[in-house]
Symmetry: C2
Subunit: 262 residues, 2 copies
């Protein structure tokens, strides 16, 4: 991270209106939420239909121009998909046609860290981290940038995996894989942490205090024991077992930290 | 479920174009994915801005007209939110104004059940379940339906929680909470299960077979020990400990089942 904690500008598009004490515009915070999410939801509109469309995709933020950039720096979002999928075709058509900037998209990622149970059901809440980004999607055509993005995305699934796979990619693999690049226009995140809280009249309700359990049910993702494929001949390598251990430890800690009374 | 496994009609909006062997239109399958997701992503467009918007929300499918309906029956989606949030205001404005059907939305839910690691990075995959629904959102104004939806949504977070909280809701609670009802127009789901697979040329590559670990890293959500609030006076009740136990057992089993070689 640089000397400043960079923020996305607050505009009509991204301003968190509700419970704004939970809102943040920090690039570092937003990018971390996106990059630690295994699935991103991408929304776009299509002139041929009345509903916006959401697709689940795999992606990661990075900078091809400056690969050493930190999480808190201005970054692009790279998304992986099948080359002739609808989102790829629409992005191609829009950047070739009316809008060279690319297709307007919204990208969302959310993590649940716990269920917060209060006396009143209306004071129930989640501990969560959620982020949205707004930007324009174009297809990556530069071969070198495409390779950069594929390595970035593969290593986001399992750190250090790319160089442990069969390389280089075949021509067919490269041709069948599309990479979308989203240039970010703005973004925001919402984070909620803490223990249960109730309004004064519920806190003073002795009968309810004596009968309703209040607290947090912490929730986190867990990775189980690796399950080798029928054709695997190799012991679980260190970079995978270390990843699983870090994943489990970090996620559990995140859920426990979120549940602390603030 | 009824005598038939009902399906949403296949139309341009919802047809799964890519890898269609994974696509399904079964109401039962789609509704289960939505109902077991703690956070739903809702997308809508606003005339005042260029990007579609995604919001994370809590919701559940049900039928106010026929509360005994099964998961595989035609259902509505109820979403919970703050009454003067942007999505509520837009829904209200649209159904009062140009489109009495309500605001067109897309709703998505995705679960990751495992990371599938192959010899080629291009044969990597996820085991996952994802669903999208398309429909029109309107604000619920009927008091009885609003109460039905709030109970439905609270009990979707922790089964049986509603009747263990302070009831009835106060007037202020009811007034500050908005419920959106999405009438579903169509939907689809994509599911991927299985062990790692590689193309023939990678399977015949002895050097790679001897060096690359292939298999599945199963992933599931885990609920940790309940953490009581500072003002809690009650032991963890059975309906909560049972829920935590079922949640953990079911999710782990789902991830393990998904990783089985097909």
């Amino acid at each position: 991270m640089g000397r400043y904690d960079l923020e996305y500008p607050k505009e009509a598009t991204n301003t968190v209106k509700r419970l704004n004490e939970r809102g943040t515009y920090s690039l570092e915070t937003i990018h971390r939420i996106i990059n630690s999410s295994q699935i991103l939801h991408i929304s776009f509109t299509s002139p041929s239909q009345p509903f916006p469309v959401i697709l689940p995709m795999i992606g990661q933020m990075g900078s091809f121009d400056r690969p050493s950039a930190d999480t808190g720096d201005p970054l692009d979002l790279y998304l992986h998909g099948y080359v002739s999928s609808r989102i790829m075709n629409l992005s191609r058509a829009q950047s070739d046609g009316e809008d060279p900037q690319g297709m307007p998209v919204c990208v969302a990622a959310s993590h649940v860290d716990g269920l917060v149970l209060a006396i009143s059901s209306f004071s129930h809440s989640y501990n969560y981290r959620s982020a949205v980004l707004f930007g324009h999607a174009t297809l990556v055509t530069d071969e070198e940038e495409k390779m950069y993005a594929m390595e970035l995305i593969t290593d986001s699934v399992v750190p250090d995996r790319w160089r442990h796979t069969r390389l280089p990619p075949t021509k067919a693999e490269l041709q069948s894989t599309g990479i979308l690049k989203v240039r970010i226009a703005s973004g925001s995140a919402k984070i909620h942490v803490g223990q249960a809280h109730d309004d004064k009249h519920d806190m003073e309700n002795e009968a309810m205090r004596d009968s309703v359990w209040t607290g947090v049910l912490p929730i986190h993702q867990t990775m189980g024991e690796p399950l080798a494929s029928p054709y695997n001949r190799v012991d679980v390598p260190g970079y995978i077992s270390q990843f699983a251990q870090d994943f489990n430890g970090d996620n559990q800690q995140q859920a426990l930290d979120a549940a602390k009374d603030q």
